[in-house]
């Protein structure tokens, strides 16, 4: 571990909060870099979509001072394979990127999903050329499963079988 990583680990907190009317505006104001803009629109889409799907859980990623990002996870719906969860729409505001929030948010989401008790697999997907996402999910023990028709790389996390 490099010194600055020790520093980050000690001083930067990451929490997940349920999305509510109180933090919604802060989430809407999260900013991304130009080449990440497609993801910003996706955050509002995700919150809208989740309002019609009780099995979709939206979470604000927050540090001590407020909202710094967003993610959503989906519990299996009626049409899904039992035990299949998914993490979507992970984003961290450009002003707060590079501090480990994304990685810790995914770890927190994994922990929250495991509390549901029935998780067999947790899926995610990203553009194959998105090196940041690729490394982040690999660091969280996701294994790449392949590129699907939609052009996205799918990766899956499974609980330790032993």
């Amino acid at each position: 571990m490099r010194p600055y990583q020790r520093f980050l680990r000690k001083w930067i907190t990451t929490n997940l909060h349920v999305v509510t009317k109180e933090n919604f505006t802060d989430i809407a104001e999260l900013e991304l870099h130009e080449h990440q803009q497609d993801h910003a629109a996706a955050t509002m889409y995700a919150i809208a979509e989740a309002s019609f799907h009780p099995n979709y859980h939206c979470r604000a990623i927050a540090d001590r001072d407020g909202v710094v990002g967003f993610l959503m996870y989906a519990a299996p719906g009626a049409d899904d394979e039992p035990g299949d969860y998914a993490i979507y729409h992970l984003m961290v505001d450009r002003r707060f990127q590079g501090r480990g929030h994304g990685r810790r948010a995914v770890e927190l989401a994994l922990a929250e999903i495991r509390k549901h008790g029935d998780a067999q697999r947790i899926w995610t997907s990203y553009r194959p050329d998105n090196a940041v996402a690729k490394d982040l999910y690999a660091a969280c023990s996701f294994i790449e499963a392949g590129v699907e028709e939609d052009g996205e790389m799918y990766a899956v996390w499974s609980p330790d079988p032993y």
Binding site: A48, E49, S51
Partner: protein, 148 residues
């Protein structure tokens, strides 16, 4: 073609977020995804899909302003018609349908609307329906009111 307002549901919301505006119109209004997301947290906010027959053509949202401490007053906060269906009078009919829904609640004295001062189409439409301009708010939007 008959204009109808319908609820936003898990079946039509995806199509609503795909409705398009002309480039210069995009600055006039929040995205439909934003509005639907926002409305999901407030029972005072009512989102509606605008249909011409069975064709989805637009989106609107109105708000019970008791949310902002103005009981008996409503606001139409969003109204948009897809660029492929503009100029057919759908916006006017949809707004009339929304006003009828609001009136049907009873006890409503005022309905507010706001728009960018350079949005002449909005300005003319609302003026023709009896909205009277009142003031520019701190965001630079023109407020107009319909007294019932």
């Amino acid at each position: 073609m008959e204009i109808q307002l319908r609820a936003v549901t898990r079946e039509n919301f995806d199509d609503i977020t795909d409705l398009r505006l002309l480039d210069h119109q995009r600055d006039y209004i929040a995205s439909n995804a934003y509005s639907i997301a926002q409305a999901s947290f407030y029972r005072e906010m009512q989102a509606r899909a605008i249909y011409a027959g069975e064709q989805l053509v637009g989106f609107l949202m109105y708000v019970d302003l008791k949310l902002e401490g103005q009981p008996g007053e409503f606001g139409v906060w969003r109204l948009m018609v897809d660029l492929g269906h503009q100029g057919k009078g759908y916006g006017r009919e949809a707004l009339q349908a929304a006003l009828a829904e609001i009136r049907a609640r009873g006890g409503v004295r005022k309905i507010w609307i706001s728009y960018q001062p350079d949005n002449t189409r909005a300005k003319d439409l609302y003026a023709s329906m009896g909205f009277v301009e009142t003031d520019l708010d701190e965001d630079g939007e023109m407020n107009a009111v319909l007294e019932l």
